[in-house]
């Protein structure tokens, strides 16, 4: 298999059965920067516009067992970015997520390994989540000194209920796959070898539903929330930038960056957002 284009973080593989794999491959841990989210948007544009495509499976093409480590700290650490760039980053990423949540395509996340923060959010926007037996999943922003974005929290509350979500979010809990399945955060657990087969089997099962009525029902179920999400991204961006520019948060994120670039904790995916 040829290596992807140096600037391309995604690889699209069309499969028989009218669906595509979207393989996330930004070594070493798929941190999501502005370009990553822009490429996700472009791929969703392309696949939704293709009348032969009915579904997408997101998966990791990394060497290590990481789905994605979440947002790139370089996009959040104020001294390395700007209000303007942060605004674009936040709007592009959240508009993508809100749109994925209501995509007329059937969407599956095949999660190999670690799945914190932004990776967990991308997964929650899909219709179905299957995860390997080892790994962990959750929105762990609080542990890094940053708050969970309101609509990301709202999404988890919809998926597993307000009470269970509140406990996980306030205390930055990362769940093991078995716990995540029990709470309804994921739908199935598979062996590492069986992950893609399980994802493709679920896809084929879900594609038995007629597209029009399925997509229209999905839009009815999720449309109001997604519209609020897209609007709210605009509302929250200035306040979020103010927080990111404050002394304590800058100090906190400087520490995270130092850990990531430095010693033995380098590449620990749970240390990112």
């Amino acid at each position: 298999m040829p290596p992807p284009d140096a600037d391309a973080f995604l690889r699209v593989e069309r499969r028989k059965g009218a669906y595509a794999l979207v393989v996330l491959c930004r070594e070493p841990v798929n941190t999501m920067n502005l370009s990553f989210w822009q490429q996700l948007t472009a791929v969703l544009d392309e696949l939704e516009a293709d009348p032969a495509m009915r579904g997408i499976i997101f998966c990791s093409g990394l060497r290590r067992d990481v789905f994605t480590a979440g947002n790139d700290i370089n996009e959040l650490y104020a001294p390395l970015t700007s209000h303007e760039r942060y605004r674009e980053f936040w709007l592009v990423s959240n508009r993508f997520l809100a749109r994925l949540y209501t995509s007329p395509l059937v969407t599956v996340a095949a999660i190999r390994g670690a799945c914190p923060a932004g990776g967990c959010c991308l997964s929650m926007c899909c219709d179905y989540r299957v995860m390997t037996e080892s790994g962990s999943i959750g929105l762990n922003e609080v542990a890094l000194g940053i708050s969970v974005p309101k609509m990301w929290a709202g999404l988890m509350m919809r998926l597993i209920g307000t009470g269970p979500a509140e406990k996980l979010l306030q205390f930055a809990v990362m769940l093991q796959p078995g716990e995540a399945k029990e709470l309804g955060l994921i739908d199935d657990v598979a062996s590492k070898e069986g992950l893609m087969a399980a994802a493709e089997q679920a896809m084929r099962q879900m594609l038995k539903s007629p597209d029009f009525s399925r997509a229209d029902t999905k839009s009815k179920l999720r449309g109001d929330f997604a519209a609020e999400w897209a609007r709210y991204a605009e509302t929250e961006v200035d306040g979020a930038w103010e927080l990111l520019s404050s002394g304590p948060v800058k100090a906190q994120l400087a520490g995270v960056l130092e850990r990531l670039s430095g010693g033995k904790k380098k590449g620990d995916p749970q240390s990112r957002l």
Copy 2:
């Protein structure tokens, strides 16, 4: 027991203990047409106005094990009805359901056998659901090429949570009684012989609560949703008629009607809406 009046689809049996059975008997599968919903409304009027009545148990009086097969396709297939008639059908049925959901009476669904679509919705509007060991329950509209009405979906989301409901609805899942109980879609499973005894026992237990505070609490819990439902029925009716009048949906429903009137699938309750 005398056969019901040829035009009456419902039979009311008053029981000791201040409640009544409302027996649904439109052979062969209790398809719900305009008249069926009008009769349900009249019976609810009558029982709510009767100071001696404190509760209702809905059950099936059919020969086969079907609670109801859901809405009558003749009311949905555009060539057989009209915009005007469809409007009346949709408003009468949804206003009945929204009102049942907040009825001051204690309401129980005793579900013998198949309970798709409209029958599932009627059951979800009750305070308690008990079902026989064989049968299935769910909102399977998507499988027939029609979308799940927004407030019906919202009702299931309230009952079992948004995440679980989304999976069932998008993929038209009909649950077995054990699964339905585990998810909270029904409250109890009984043998076919024990169904009515279980329903009546639950009714007697629930009637231990004083009527005024129970009904006032029910109104507080469900009133906002029911008011939105009644309003939304009016909002959605024109768009729904436009869809029902479109080529693809007409073709889809023509196929359903042909299957129902034709061969071996005749009377399969899961083929109806």
Copy 3:
């Protein structure tokens, strides 16, 4: 340990680790009157203003196994109070609860024994609930002929889901600790001897999250609901007083008071609101 001041219903014990115990001690069953809620408000003011304090554990200092028996009937029985006093009672208590629900402190309820109505509501406003193996918990207002306050019901719906909450509330169900844990109404069950150790262990675990991001996330998750609650207390107070002043409710509450002051049922905590 010295007995508390005769007029003080609460005792505050600061602990190593930056949290405090708030011990509820109004013998015999911690009925919550206006002064009780005012003292809770003052203690919350004090602890939130203390930069050394990061958490609160609420527990009972009573001789018998009762967390609190809920609101004092003397505040609800119209002949013993007035519209003006009831208004103050209702606003003080509900503003306290709404504020506790969004307190930047980590909050734990350590529930020894009976926990009906107002005690259940106070517990539900905390971040974590641990309960002894014997006891019961729930909002049992309906059994006493009074309806469940709308936002109290809404709080339980958030915590355990709308469907499960509706069944408990309409039928005044008091849950055993095991059932309560299964539904998510409490988080853990402990022996009577192990209760405080379990509460303190949970507190220490939760205090590992950085305060700022944890509190900001809590505010995002609960702020809208709490703001609506504080507003709604004002909206509902006149209608509630009208009901409390009506013949049937006065008769009902007179009966409760007679039972409490009279024979063998005296002090049964489940007989209070």
